[in-house]
């Protein structure tokens, strides 16, 4: 028999988990969803974000989430630089599909090995005042370890969506995704716009990394487990739609949580990705794709 408290808690846990998944996918929704760049190194940047949060937390007592936000401009600069290299080496010569993919694979390995050489292989964790607390509403629990990442992720997604729809540069990013030539004819530099967008995507990894280390311990190679899930969320949401990405992340989180609670955790990825396959069969452009 289905227990109401178990069901309610499973749904809430899924929503909170989905919120965190959205943080790992929001950058990809810009870079992969809007710009069509398969940045497979995005989860590696998330791990760098986690290490930055760990360093600032363990050495200076910074809150990890604030540390992630503070580090975002540096990530933006690193992302912009990375795009410039990618553009000069691959995109300009039209070799971005396969060579570009190999390039980002390489970047991922370089990041992992650099972290390993600089900080070793031990698990890194952070101390926060809230990670061991929870709020309760009736029989439903909201562990702050998951609630804080959910809230930050929601704010990040809303912020990015507003930026893309209300600012000049945001609209330019959407324009370059739709018709690069038309943007060029209007006098805008598509390369510069894409560079800005790529930087923005990588900047979100700083925040996502900080959220990750609040939830679980981190070591250099742990990012790989998010590659498939983050790309799946972007595709399910409808390539580039922020609203779609967030809803897709929530669906994945809730499905995983429900299956984990009522069927068995080993089935949760299979069922979650089954939902992805089914959705794409019905709506090939994704939930909010056009």
């Amino acid at each position: 028999m289905l227990q109401a408290d178990l069901l309610a808690n499973a749904v809430v846990a899924g929503i909170l988990l989905g919120g965190f998944y959205a943080a790992t996918a929001v950058g990809l929704a810009i870079v992969f969803g809007q710009l069509d760049i398969v940045n497979i190194a995005h989860p590696a940047f998330i791990i760098v974000g986690a290490y930055v949060a760990w360093i600032l937390n363990s050495r200076y007592g910074f809150d990890p989430v604030l540390a992630g936000v503070a580090a975002a401009p540096l990530f933006f600069a690193a992302g912009a630089l990375l795009y410039r290299i990618y553009y000069l080496a691959f995109e300009r010569t039209g070799q971005e599909s396969l060579s570009g993919l190999a390039f980002f694979f390489g970047v991922m390995f370089i990041i992992e090995v650099s972290l390993l050489l600089a900080y070793g292989v031990d698990y890194r964790l952070v101390q926060t005042g809230y990670a061991e607390s929870k709020w309760s509403l009736g029989f439903v629990d909201f562990p702050l370890r998951m609630l804080v990442p959910f809230a930050v992720s929601l704010a990040l997604t809303v912020g990015i969506a507003q930026y893309l729809s209300r600012t000049f540069m945001g609209r330019a990013i959407q324009a370059v995704a739709q018709d690069r030539l038309a943007l060029q004819l209007m006098g805008a530099n598509p390369v510069r716009v894409k560079q800005w967008a790529f930087g923005l995507g990588v900047a979100t990894a700083a925040v996502a990394g900080a959220l990750l280390i609040v939830i679980q311990p981190v070591e250099p190679s742990v990012g790989r487990q998010f590659i498939g899930r983050a790309f799946a969320i972007v595709v399910l949401g409808g390539m580039g739609s922020m609203r779609g990405m967030f809803v897709a992340a929530l669906i994945l989180g809730v499905v995983e949580s429900l299956v984990s609670t009522f069927v068995g955790p080993s089935w949760s990825p299979a069922v979650a990705f089954g939902v992805l396959a089914l959705t794409l069969a019905i709506r090939p452009a994704g939930l909010f794709g056009r």
């Binding site: 227990q3 178990l6 808690n9 499973a10 846990a13 899924g14 909170l16 988990l17 965190f20 992992e112 090995v113 390993l116 900080y119 070793g120 292989v121 031990d122 698990y123 890194r124 964790l125 952070v126 101390q127 990670a131 061991e132 929870k134 629990d141 562990p143 370890r145 998951m146 939830i215 679980q216 311990p217 070591e219 250099p220 190679s221 742990v222 487990q225 899930r229 995983e256 949580s257 429900l258 984990s260 609670t261 009522f262 068995g264 955790p265 080993s266 949760s268 990825p269």
Partner: protein, 415 residues
Amino acid sequence: MRLQRFLTAALAALAFAALPASGAEPAGKPIKIGFSMALTGGLAGAGKAALIAMEIWRDDVNKAGGLLGRPVELVYYDDATQPANVPGIYTKLLDVDKVDLVVSSYGTNEIAPAMPIVMRKKLVFPSLFGLAVNDEFKYDRYFQIMPAGPEPKTDWSKGFFELAAAQKPKPKTVAIVAADAEFALNAAAGARANAKKMGFSIVYDKSYPPSTTDFTPVVRAIQATNPDIVFVASYPPDSVGMVKAAHEVGLKCKMFGGGMVGLQYAAIQKNLGPLLDGIINYDFWVPETTLNFPGVRDFLAKYQAAAVGKGVDPLGHYLPPYAYAYLQVVGEAITGTKSLDQGKLAAYMHSHTFDTVIGKVKFGKNGEWATSRVLEVQFRDVQPNDLEQFAGPGKRVVLYPREWRSAEIDYPYKK
């Protein structure tokens, strides 16, 4: 009187001459010991710590004159925690580097892929922390340093369930949850067998994928079955998630723990702090007075000095003493047989008891320890954010086996 003095001097001179070349510079062609090791990837934390311990052994041996008067050299490659890399590495070690002996990488998943090559060449294969690897291969030159015991799958969790069975009133129901990976599934199979053997009813028995981020749904599902005992076989990030989720959900059970890898690591212990209190989990060495084996403190002092700045476990209680010990076994066998002949070494290792930093080691017929020494330890009175507390006794008391016990069980887990 003069004769007595002369005899004493002569005996002393003879005794000195009879001493092995201790302290003398080793000379000649080095004895090469080859292995793959997880220096990057998921098991790198343990792999790098193991390598530090192995290098300490090499330096200690070479300082003491080497083996058979020859220096010892370690030849190793990073297997990146990828089992697929392991066969190629051992082929290279044997065919290109021409190593004299091989030992294993760390962990079940990295040991098993080397077995076919090692068996084909009939090599002695001392192994580092593989659970029940030889159950499938039944190789008579395999020697496992992890003290799981002659029936590793069940011996691994036997202590946990024996402790549970000894409580009054005896708990009745058990939940078993394990990661979908080789070691954890083996541990869960053993737990299942022990639970049935000791008359517990299994009310939850599931595995979870390694990519699981949030464990609250798992713990809630376990809680819904209202088990008396919860046995968890998990890897480090999952163990942290599981302990935090148990705290958040308010898991009510009488015993919690069992096979959680990671709770032995200092960084994780420091982070979880008081959340660990009451958990009963396996371990292999803790700084309790009952486990103060000769040489272990000296070894740990060297390890802790060498570990500074290398990003590995700073205390090194879990794996490093065993990584040192499995090479001690190799060294003692070479010295004892005065040979590098694989057959002689294997026969010696089967027939002798070895004195190591982790105590006396005696291998059984299948290459596992003749008698299990999987410890069940309980976390007690853990303070928040304090690493140093774990360096001394009292925080992880030994409950099982009786021979090494340092405290009585604090039962139940949540009062």
